[in-house]
């Protein structure tokens, strides 16, 4: 019986009191409802089960499979960088390494503490790792140590259960056998940064132990060198424990690149630069192959690979010799007198008789200013030959005014100055070959006669990089339009001729030979190799006005740059070389290096003997000196050194170091006086400190007395 519906708040007359039978009836009805509800839930569950197991089966099967199978990428072995003989400039070596994946670490301090004990990490190394752990995003593995021996590696491996997030593995790491010698040439590798990963969503990039090229050739040829990763498929538990191996695919190593560099020569040149800050470029006079391209001091790419440590960073950052700058491609210098053979060639092309002479009395009046020759006593009657081997400034002042800047600038460009060569490096500086049109464009000013005078002696607006100087040397030597070549190519077409008359070249060659082997400014540069004569040209470029310093001594930063360009043998040129020594105090710092590097090409034993003698007094070879310096820093600063920069900051710092210091572009040089040249000749140099041969003074008299500061 059904109860009639009443509102709870209405007060109806109560019908009959509810009886037991009614309740039983209601119980049965409600139990039926309950049973139906349960059956409904049962159907719902069965339907849901069918949906999951049948309709969505494929999706969940895939999900289950991706759970079960763990794909581990095996970083590919990087392609080697080899020299022209096949010797390794950058290779791989097998090593044991330990990484940390920050995301998986539970207690970073405890883990690091334990690792430090197991691996014998120093305090500063631990601080470095902590910095990186803090900065790292979850997926980026941080390297704790590499090149471990088996015992240490095993010690970590067996304690893995207590070290969540720590990944020990066997792999390959990049190795640069000659270290700092190829730092700028080859570049270095490092772990991919978050930005790299943003650009290329490749899981390989976050595989522990994988490195990508960060600088130089390593970066430029990344694609070619990288190779194809291998993969290991394993069945693993949710906790990461491997249950069984499902198969492994081998990696495909990256392709090697062969350079025209001669590894031995590169290393020798790097060592021979010694304590100086400078660069050496050696080119093959037949092909343009770069045999050596060294910028020192440098960094050790081996230590950059693990991310640079705080002490090493402090060392690099505080070094005024800018070890992070590739001086060959990014250093710009006034070339000084090394341009004189080129200028002379321009004179010859313009029809100047090589016997045409000028009387050098130690200076030349141009307009109302006096331009001094480096030799204040004068060279007497000077023809082209003497002008070159004695580096007489007055000869060039005189005839440059006759011939005009346009012809000189054209020849400079023809020989490679101011030219851009396609080298696989970013951010090269190409310098300036000034001419009237350029000055008008750049400064909106008329070309003045003293600009010509300055340019002819490689001062003023004239700026070159050492590579261009080497190209100039090789073109002067060969008469061919050689371009620097870094990548080995046996099928490259022969370089075309520059179209310069051979008798002109012969004259220049003879004059440059005289510089070294005759009455010239670099007699000490004579090669100790019987039958091989080297031809060259010295250059000294002033850095600061003589009112600041004399360029020879005093503050390192104020000393003159030293240059030397050369080729050998002079009568049948095979090799050309350019040496630039920053603040070396003059060309005397440059040509002994050129001499020894050239000697090495003809007689290795003799050259090595000389080098080893030097290295004894320098405190060891490059690596030994860097290690000693490192230890000194470590002892002094220890873990208190400021944090090493992260990738981005480091790159920025390197870039800052690489922006060319535009020393003399600020036209302080209204008439930067030619700096004193040789040491070979009786040295009048010291006298200059008392009587600055400086700036063209507006003195009406031709007297060699001039105002100390360049008037403007």
């Amino acid at each position: 019986m059904r109860q009639t519906w009443t509102w709870p708040w209405s007060k109806p007359v109560r019908p009959l009191p509810v009886s037991g039978a009614q309740l039983t009836n209601s119980f049965e009805r409600r139990t039926f409802v309950l049973g139906m509800a349960q059956a409904g839930v049962g159907m719902l569950l069965a339907g849901r089960l069918t949906w999951l197991a049948v309709a969505e089966n494929a999706k969940y099967r895939a999900a289950s499979e991706s759970n079960r199978v763990n794909l581990t990428l095996i970083p590919p072995r990087r392609g080697w960088v080899i020299d022209r003989t096949g010797a390794a400039l950058a290779a791989n070596r097998a090593d044991f390494r330990v990484d940390i994946v920050p995301d998986r670490v539970v207690d970073a301090d405890a883990t690091l503490g334990m690792l430090a004990g197991l691996l014998g990490l120093t305090a500063d190394r631990v601080s470095d790792i902590k910095d990186k752990l803090e900065k790292a995003r979850g997926f980026q593995p941080v390297e704790v140590a590499s090149s471990l021996d088996w015992e240490k590696f095993a010690a970590v491996s067996v304690r893995l259960p207590e070290l969540p997030g720590v990944i020990p593995q066997r792999g390959f790491s990049r190795y640069y056998p000659t270290g700092p010698a190829v730092g700028h040439l080859v570049g270095y590798v490092g772990p991919a940064s978050a930005e790299d990963y943003e650009k290329e969503h490749n899981p390989l990039l976050i595989t522990p132990g994988f490195k990508i090229g960060k600088d130089g050739l390593e970066k430029h040829f990344e694609e070619r060198l990288r190779g194809v990763p291998g993969a290991r498929r394993v069945e693993a538990t949710a906790g990461g424990r491997v249950v069984r191996d499902l198969g492994t695919r081998e990696d495909v190593p990256g392709k090697p690149i062969q350079l025209t560099i001669d590894a031995a020569l590169q290393d020798y040149a790097a060592r021979r630069i010694g304590l100086e800050s400078g660069s050496v470029v050696v080119m093959d006079c037949a092909t343009g192959d770069l045999l050596a391209m060294v910028s020192m001091p440098s960094f050790d790419p081996n230590s950059f690979a693990d991310g640079i440590g705080r002490i090493e960073w402090k060392m690099l950052a505080e070094d005024d010799h800018v070890p992070l700058r590739n001086k060959v491609l990014r250093g710009l210098y006034p070339p000084g007198s090394t341009v004189k053979p080129m200028v002379a060639l321009a004179f010859l092309e313009a029809g100047l008789d090589p016997e045409a002479s000028v009387g050098c009395a130690g200076g030349l009046r141009v307009g109302n200013r006096v331009f001094h020759c480096w030799n204040h006593r004068g060279h007497g009657t000077t023809n082209m030959m003497k002008g070159i081997y004695q580096s007489c400034d007055v000869y060039f002042y005189h005839f440059a005014q006759q011939i005009g800047m346009d012809k000189i600038a054209a020849m400079a460009r023809r020989l490679g100055l101011g030219q851009e060569f396609p080298m696989p490096y970013p951010g090269q500086s190409y310098g300036t070959v000034p001419d009237p049109a350029w000055k008008q464009r750049k400064y909106g000013k008329e070309w003045a006669i003293y600009d010509t005078v300055n340019a002819t002696i490689g001062q003023g607006y004239m700026l070159v990089n050492p590579l261009q100087q080497a190209v100039m040397a090789s073109r002067l030597a060969s008469g061919l339009q050689l371009a620097p070549r870094l990548l080995m190519n046996h099928h490259a077409p022969a370089a075309p001729s520059l179209g310069i008359r051979q008798d002109h070249l012969d004259l220049i060659h003879a004059a440059m030979n005289e510089v070294v082997n005759g009455r010239g400014t670099a007699g000490k540069a004579r090669l100790p190799v019987p039958g091989v004569q080297m031809a060259g040209k010295t250059g000294t470029a002033q850095v600061v006005g003589l009112n600041v310093g004399n360029g020879k001594g005093g503050l390192w930063k104020h000393r003159d740059h030293g240059h030397f360009i050369c080729f050998a043998p002079f009568d049948k040129p095979r090799y050309a070389c350019a040496v630039a020594i920053e603040h070396g105090g003059g060309s005397g710092a440059a040509y002994p290096i050129a001499r020894d590097v050239m000697t090495f090409l003809f007689d290795r034993a003799k050259a090595m003997e000389v080098l080893e003698g030097y290295e004894k007094s320098w405190g060891g070879n490059v690596q030994q000196r860097m290690a000693a310096r490192y230890n000194a820093y470590a002892a002094k600063f220890g873990a208190t050194a400021p944090q090493a920069p992260d990738e981005a900051q480091a790159a920025e710092a390197v870039a800052a170091d690489n922006t060319p210091v535009d020393q003399p572009t600020a036209p302080q040089t209204d008439a930067a006086p030619p700096a004193p040249e040789p040491e070979v000749t009786p040295a009048p140099a010291p006298a200059q400190s008392t009587a600055p041969a400086a700036a063209p003074s507006p003195a009406p008299a031709a007297a060699p007395v001039s105002a100390p500061a360049p008037g403007r």
């Binding site: 119980f27 839930v41 569950l45 069965a46 197991a53 999900a63 693993a236």
Partner: protein
């Protein structure tokens, strides 16, 4: 009788429920055997042994006279409430939530026993309440009090799942006892309004998170949503016939959490597929249908309500657990009766079965006559 040659004691047993249960427990044992990586220990053997022990207990219970049940209803309820308070106190001292008392030889979980306990006490209450009072406040207020005390204590522990189970059993008894319908309709409406409020005020953070994750498991695939996601993967990847006995990668490689307790259905479905799942559902349908049939033919009001309440308790376990593993309900720690490994839930469920068997006996003895 056909079964004349079978001893009377055996013939009298309710084989209609024992056989399906035995099948289910053995099947559960097989699943646990596989989940242990092909070992009887630590789960499968214990599971079956426990069932047999508790089956004996259920048979013993089934022989208890109805009067004993009635007399024990209130005292056992009071004792369970005292134990719940005790748990709460010890829990306070121990710091943190505690759900069990260590009796030395076993871990006693009073809230678990409270599930049949509340059914028993309410069935007793409504059997002594005169039928004419059923639509008055006297039918409601004592029942609400009887429910509120233990439910409140359990929720305080905090143990939302068990609290809901207790409440669900109690509410169903009230419903079947004949309380006016409008109470349940308006009560349902009130819950619908209050639930969001309770969600933001009463629930603990982890409970709130579970609910949120239930609504969107992918929002936290490695955290709270992990359970649901992995369970669905296990069930879904099993397909029609499963991956084969001992081949469940989800459970064997530890991707599925609680593979032998709360998520045992997923473990099973991965290896036995939809067919295994339907088998489990069918067995539960048989057991529940038997239970409802027992309730319907029960001889009196007390036994009817008692039986229906026990069925409801088992149903609630099954329903919530299966909904949870299939991603239809938030993760609450409720095991699957007769399949999940665990002593407490086995005991509770066998208490329910034993009580149902007792009711079944009473109805057979009275042979359909009403008292």
């Amino acid at each position: 009788m056909q079964r004349a040659y079978i001893p009377g004691f055996i013939a009298r047993q309710p084989w209609g429920v024992i056989l399906p249960l035995l099948a289910l427990v053995l099947f559960g044992g097989a699943v646990l055997y596989s989940a242990a990586g092909g070992h009887l220990m630590p789960w499968a053997l214990l599971h079956v042994l426990r069932f047999l022990v508790f089956l004996v207990m259920a048979m013993v219970i089934s022989r208890i006279p109805q009067e004993w049940f009635k007399n024990a209803a209130l005292p056992s309820y009071v004792m369970l409430c005292v134990l719940l308070v005790l748990v709460e106190l010890i829990g306070r001292v121990g710091g943190g939530s505690q759900r069990w008392l260590n009796l030395g030889f076993m871990q006693l979980q009073p809230s678990e026993l409270m599930k049949p306990g509340i059914v028993l006490v309410l069935a007793w209450f409504y059997s002594v309440l005169p039928p004419s009072e059923i639509r008055t406040g006297r039918a409601i207020a004592p029942a609400v009090l009887l429910l509120g005390l233990p439910a409140g204590l359990v929720m305080l522990q905090p143990d939302l799942g068990t609290g809901l189970a207790i409440s669900f059993g109690a509410v169903v008894i009230m419903f079947l006892a004949g309380l006016p319908l409008w109470l349940f309709i308006s009560g349902g409406a009130a819950v619908a309004v209050a639930a969001p409020l309770a969600f933001f005020t009463l629930l603990h953070d982890y409970q709130r998170k579970r609910v949120l994750v239930f609504l969107d498991p992918e929002s936290d695939p490695l955290g709270s949503g992990y359970h649901i996601t992995q369970s669905k993967i296990a069930i879904g990847s099993g397909g029609l016939f499963g991956k084969g006995f001992g081949q469940g990668s989800q459970s064997h490689l530890d991707y599925l959490p609680e593979a032998h307790t709360d998520f045992v259905f997923a473990t099973m479905a991965e290896e036995w597929g939809m067919m295994g799942g339907l088998f489990v559902l069918t067995v539960f349908a048989l057991v529940l249908r038997w239970g409802i049939a027992v309730a319907l033919r029960a001889p009196d009001r007390f036994s009817r309500l008692l039986a229906a309440g026990m069925v409801t308790t088992i149903f609630f376990y099954v329903c919530i657990n299966l909904m949870m593993v299939m991603g239809l309900a938030p993760v609450v720690g409720i095991p699957l009766p007769f399949v999940s490994h665990g002593g407490s839930s086995m005991m509770t469920n066998m208490l329910c079965i034993g009580t149902l068997m007792a009711v079944d006996r009473w109805s057979q003895r009275q042979d359909g006559t009403f008292r």
